[in-house]
Symmetry: C2
Subunit: 337 residues, 2 copies
């Protein structure tokens, strides 16, 4: 085992503004060996998530920050190459928080075995993984969609947004997606089935929403925060629900976060804004996975991954995510399957 | 009837920033006569409400703006001096939207008769009126207080806040009030029964809240918005509820409203922020009034009014409200009882 070379990205400074390559150290060490109850996993794909930027900050959040000098946190999918736990065997395909590295030693109980015949492996990091579950619980539990309601989803071509759009349609909503650029907008309508898409890079979002939502917005599933949240707030229908899933437009701000200036629209419309993280629903993951897998098998849940090759690209690929340059769930392929 | 002189404040311009005397015209006209189904009311006391500033702005809200040239909207309590409806008799004491004037002609169905022996008349504009109902529905319906939870109330010595503090105690919460100045803080603790009060004018609110709420804040009943909302957001407990009742600190801003920069705390803590106006609960007013009157009669609901004499003081008295210079529910006495 100890002859396996393990490349790792370690966080060495807390980023100010946009994350940079110099915030990390790229080192090579021998892969560890699994102790009792542990397994050694060959990482195949890594998930690039908007939440990563928050994990790099010091201070209280829903999860401890990545410590300086520690391997950068990331979800990944890989194959067991050595196991010291009866629950996992060599060759098993597993998902877990592998970190940004070639090999990870993890407790077997922190790994979830998946069936690689069900879907392409990167999908288990997207529509059939945490982003899919995030969409599922956020939309259904907080958004409470009812047939005929108007649902607006930001970052609608992104990993979470794309699933949210489709579950919205499954639940009978009229769905408007907001995405950046004509290609993503076409994808949101033609592939994901949204009733319309708004290109925030080339359209006046306020005018487009006003045109598409004459009776107001019943549910806003927000992945971006910032200006778009403020625009939507002014168009809420009575008893609207704003699901705060993320605020990617704000994560790399050097200045303090921009708060929703139009939040008094909550008062005017008796509306609510509620936040969550997917971990809040850990006890219900099996329910969510069953639903997502069922929709995927019946063709109702489509997905797209954006695969970048090479662990060494990590800092640049992460920047791509915050710039909105990915199209589909962004993953890094670390090794051949 | 037509010999009665009626002084009126009419809105003549939309205020920019703090409301000013020059935004109104003070005129005298003959009092009108009640048509079929109407009554003529001699206004005795007028309610000064934070919401008035919003009613003066153009644009969509939960209620139409006061038109330019129209009598300024206000709730009031008065006595029927002429009635053209069988439901009301001369001498009845009634509450309704009388406007800022000596006499109002109103539909009988828009007036609520009250029993003047139950409480001092101004109280029907405060703890036993809209502010009391606002506290009742906002705290119970949105705040959902549970025994032992920590409730923080801003503007705790104000008309709504004072009732909220007391209902919070009735429901078994630990209650912290935030108010301006030592006199109000003493009142909040000694009269209203809060467990502690924080003087935002003379204390570091962040430090005081951290000291008083080691396990976080379960419910925040917000009447003020601005900096205090942002401070509280950072101290929410898991599954906290933020009740958006008002934002008095922001109503006279010339710049755009300050949004809650720390709203991502909703995500971290799976918390919600929900707004309302009391009119949303019109169908349940009888329930609320019964509860408030019951608590008042049993001594559990105390109240205090700040009475300013003279209709002519209206613009200055309203400024007093926005400067936090009132102590208790602010009313103008228009005529002797």
């Amino acid at each position: 085992m100890s002859t396996l070379e393990n490349r790792q990205f370690k966080l060495t400074s807390r980023p100010v503004g946009m994350v940079k390559r110099s915030d990390f150290e790229f080192v090579t060490t021998p892969a560890g060996e699994p102790g009792p109850g542990e397994a050694l996993v060959r990482v195949l794909y890594l998930s690039l998530d908007p939440a990563m930027r928050g994990w790099m900050n010091a201070g209280r959040s829903y999860i401890a920050p990545v410590g300086l000098g520690e391997v950068m946190r990331a979800g990944g999918i890989g194959r067991v190459v050595a196991s010291n736990d009866p629950a996992l065997g060599v060759g098993d395909t597993v998902v877990g928080m592998t970190g940004v590295q070639d090999y990870a030693v993890l407790k077997a109980k922190d790994l979830t075995r998946v069936d690689p015949r069900l879907a392409p492996l990167p999908r288990f990091l997207g529509a059939l993984g945490m982003p899919g579950l995030t969409a599922y619980f956020g939309l259904l539990d907080i958004g409470q969609p009812k047939e005929g309601e108007t649902l607006v989803v930001s970052a609608a071509a992104g990993a979470v947004g794309a699933v949210t759009v489709q579950i919205g349609k499954i639940k009978g909503c009229r769905v408007l997606g907001i995405a950046g650029g004509p290609d993503k907008c076409r994808y949101v309508v033609e592939e994901l089935g949204a009733d319309a898409a708004i290109d925030y890079k080339n359209e006046d979002v306020r005018a487009a929403l006003a045109r598409h939502c004459p009776k107001g917005i019943d549910i806003y599933f927000d992945n971006v925060g910032g200006e778009i949240l403020d625009i939507v707030l002014l168009m809420l229908a009575r008893r609207a629900r704003v699901v705060i899933c993320g605020a990617i437009s704000q994560y790399n701000n050097i200045e303090s976060m921009q708060g929703p200036r139009n939040y008094m629209s909550l008062l005017i419309n008796h509306a609510l804004m509620e936040g969550f993280v997917v971990f809040d629903y850990a006890a219900r993951y099996p329910e969510g996975m069953r639903a997502l897998a069922g929709w995927a098998l019946s063709g109702k849940l489509k997905a797209r991954e954006h695969i970048v090759e090479g662990l060494e690209t990590f800092p640049d690929t992460l920047q791509k995510l915050y710039r909105g340059e990915n199209f589909g769930k962004l993953v890094i392929q670390v090794a051949d399957e």
